[in-house]
């Protein structure tokens, strides 16, 4: 006796038919969805000691993405963020960026890496031709050096040289008024610390030629104890101290210098002090530390800026960082450019981005501009003020003058052989 098949549809055939049906019905839906959403890739640092860079960058981006998507997305396409951890390693940042474009199908990159990683992602953008917005790297050369220039890469971060010009002129004015001639510096021993301090001193001396640096300290990055550096500075007896220590290093330094009463013996200029990450952590913040603004919701003193800071705090239960506004600005510019171009195409957006001026809570005059010639952000709020131990932490910020910044920046570029 042979086994005969029962008439009708076999189980295998049923399964096959169901599968085919699913594909036929599902595919057009998938295809439509793909056309509708636009993926934006974002390599950033989400683990390790500076994970806060990545989380506050992501928060800044997501806050704006929500608004853009609610208003219809980029030329009608909803934005889908694909955010990956680079662990702060440049080679990993480059690998992640490449994968985001090639494998995940991202059409735009938001590069929220620190400087070392940003240069690596920049090379990926050069290679793939994808629209890339650097949001965190403040190293001037990234956009100032013509060798780095590519038409598809932009920067929405502040720039080291701008900070140095404003910081130097602010310090010089105080040096002249108070007769501060002898200066000391204390900055972390790596590229950022060395470059920023060098530029700052250059402009300090330019605006106040009779100042001199009598002591330099270069503690290493993430050093737990600064006692020997603190006492060394006390021995040198300077009238003023400049430091670009940041984050936990800066708060350690302040706690340790505080018990030596260092802050009552000299004027202290700490460019990275006025960021909520440091301001809210230091328990005994000394009064009267001079600092550059990073992000502070009271400067610019506009309702728009205060509202943005509060909205961020309401959503994430902490204040924004310097990185938050830089990343939010990238999305604001993208949305506006896409609207103007009436397209979500990277090349068309890039075309409009060059020279684009938008309304912004972070603008010195309520607007920021993506400067066409070097594709970097200008016109953002930049200034210095002194600290008080409680909110608003820096009550008065003296605004930097963008006219002076432009003049001196042009001169600096010439001296570097960039123009």
């Amino acid at each position: 006796m042979t086994r005969t098949r029962k008439p009708g549809v076999s189980r295998r055939a049923t399964l096959a038919m169901m599968g085919a049906g699913a594909v036929t019905f599902a595919t057009p839906w998938v295809a439509r969805a793909q056309a509708k959403t636009i993926k934006v890739g974002m390599p950033t640092i989400l683990s390790g000691r500076v994970a806060q860079l990545g989380t506050s960058s992501r928060n800044g981006v997501m806050l704006e993405i929500e608004k853009v998507n609610a208003a219809g997305g980029l030329a009608g396409r909803q934005i889908e963020m694909v955010i990956r951890d680079s662990k702060g390693q440049p080679q990993e940042a480059a690998r992640v960026a490449r994968e985001l474009v090639n494998t995940d199908g991202c059409e735009i990159l938001i590069d929220a890496e620190a400087s070392s990683g940003a240069f690596a992602v920049h090379e990926v953008a050069r290679d793939l031709g994808v629209l890339c917005i650097h949001t965190n790297s403040e190293t001037s050369a990234l956009t100032a050096d013509p060798k780095q220039h590519i038409p598809n890469a932009f920067r929405t971060a502040r720039q080291g040289v701008h900070d140095s010009i404003v910081g130097g002129s602010y310090a010089a004015a105080i040096a002249k008024a108070k007769g501060l001639k002898k200066w000391a510096t204390c900055s972390p021993d790596y590229a950022y610390g060395r470059d920023t301090t060098g530029e700052y001193v250059t402009y300090l001396k330019r605006f106040a030629p009779d100042t001199e640096i009598i002591s330099e300290s270069w503690p290493k990055l993430f050093q737990p104890d600064y006692t020997e550096v603190v006492t060394k500075i006390l021995q040198a007896k300077p009238q003023a101290l400049y430091t670009c220590l940041w984050g936990g290093d800066l708060t350690s330094y302040i706690d340790q210098a505080n018990i030596y009463a260092l802050f009552s013996q000299m004027e202290v200029f700490a460019v990275n002090m006025a960021d909520y990450t440091a301001l809210t952590v230091v328990k005994n913040l000394p009064k009267g530390i001079h600092s550059g603004n990073r992000y502070i919701k009271t400067y610019p003193a506009t309702p728009e800026n205060a509202a943005w800071g509060d909205a961020y705090k309401a959503k994430y239960n902490e204040y924004p960082t310097n990185w938050s506004w830089e990343n939010a600005t990238a999305i604001m510019l993208l949305a506006e450019a896409s609207k103007k171009a009436n397209s979500a195409d990277g090349k068309k957006i890039a075309e409009v981005l060059r020279g684009l001026k938008i309304k912004s809570p972070f603008g010195a005059d309520g607007t920021v501009t993506m400067r066409a010639e070097d594709q970097t952000l200008v016109g953002y709020a930049i200034g210095w003020g002194t600290t008080i131990p409680q909110e608003p932490y820096v009550p008065q910020v003296q605004a930097g003058d963008w006219k002076t910044i432009f003049e001196l920046e042009a001169e600096w570029k010439k001296s570097k052989g960039y123009t």
């Binding site: 000691r49 104890d225 020997e228 018990i259």
Partner: protein, 303 residues
């Protein structure tokens, strides 16, 4: 800038103000390091394992102290919590995990410890968050620094040096003079015999590990008011305390004390005379000790 600044160094040595300030500064750096290193050296001396996860106890001590301080506002309680919490953690860690790898390959021990370095860092990240924290200086110590012979000495640092010195004396005398000390030394020398005499060596091992963890935790708690707290903060402290134990000799308490003070002085005076080579100076000194006395300054030849 020149890599060495001999004028600054000789100028400092000639002035009493500078000498006092820099010497206390060296002691502060050294004494915290001593507390971490002595635990490391004690654990090695008795248990014969190199505890690479020792930095984590320093970190936990700081976080425990900060949390206790936030809740109670009492500095003394904060220190107590930092020390007691890490002692308990040390005991559990030793009984549950480390006791399983005694006598096994050193690579296996290293692997277990390194795994826990990562796990402990992540635990801290989960409980307290990834961003850095600050405990803040207790109001009692927010006073103007003392001026001794023209040198600046913060009162809090005097307390810190005092506590560490007391620990050094109590540990040294305790091991040398008391019955428990003798048993611990005997267990270090010949655990089989000690066990045969009816003494619970597991208890001794657990106790020594807890003591080591407690000392590191105390160091973390004492450092919490002046150093920022981050996951992974134990790492750089661990590296320096290894240098200390290598210089002083593995297993020697006096060696840890002298080694730690030497490192403190190198940092404090080195930053004046060799501002660009202070780190290098520490390692250079370690190399010189290793070449001339491979067992460290106070280390004994391994029988």
């Amino acid at each position: 800038m020149l890599p060495l600044d001999i004028d600054a160094l000789t100028g400092c040595l000639a002035s009493s103000a500078c000498l006092v300030t820099q010497t206390t500064s060296g002691f502060i750096i050294g004494m915290l390091l001593f507390l971490v290193a002595v635990g490391l050296t004690l654990i090695f001396g008795v248990l014969k394992v190199v505890n690479f996860s020792h930095g984590a106890f320093y970190m936990f001590g700081a976080y425990f102290a900060m949390t206790a301080y936030q809740f109670t506002g009492s500095f003394a309680l904060a220190m107590l919590c930092g020390a007691a919490g890490t002692a308990l953690l040390g005991l559990i860690f030793e009984r549950v995990f480390m006791s399983r790898v005694y006598g096994s390959d050193v690579l296996m021990q290293l692997l277990v410890c390194y795994a826990f370095v990562l796990i402990f860092d992540d635990v801290v990240r989960m409980i307290w968050g990834p961003e850095f924290k600050s405990m803040g200086m207790p109001a009692a110590f927010q006073v103007a620094p003392l001026f001794i012979a023209g040198g600046v000495v913060p009162p809090y640092y005097l307390l810190l040096i005092g506590v560490a010195l007391v620990v050094a004396v109590v540990l040294g005398l305790g091991l040398a003079r008391t019955r428990i000390g003798k048993v611990i030394r005997a267990a270090a020398h010949n655990p089989g015999m000690v066990s045969a005499l009816g003494i619970n060596t597991g208890l001794i091992y657990g106790g020594v590990f807890a003591l080591g963890g407690m000392l590191a935790g105390l160091a973390g708690a004492l450092a919490a008011p002046v150093r920022s707290l981050t996951p992974g903060m134990g790492f750089s402290v661990l590296i320096e305390s290894f240098i200390v134990t290598v210089i002083g000799g593995m297993g020697s308490i006096l060696g840890a004390l002298i080694g730690a003070i030497l490192i403190g002085m190198i940092r404090s005076f080195g930053s004046l005379g060799f501002p660009l080579f202070t780190e290098g100076l520490m390692y250079l000194f370690m190399v010189i000790v290793l070449v001339s006395r491979p067992t460290g300054l106070f280390g004994k030849e391994v029988a």
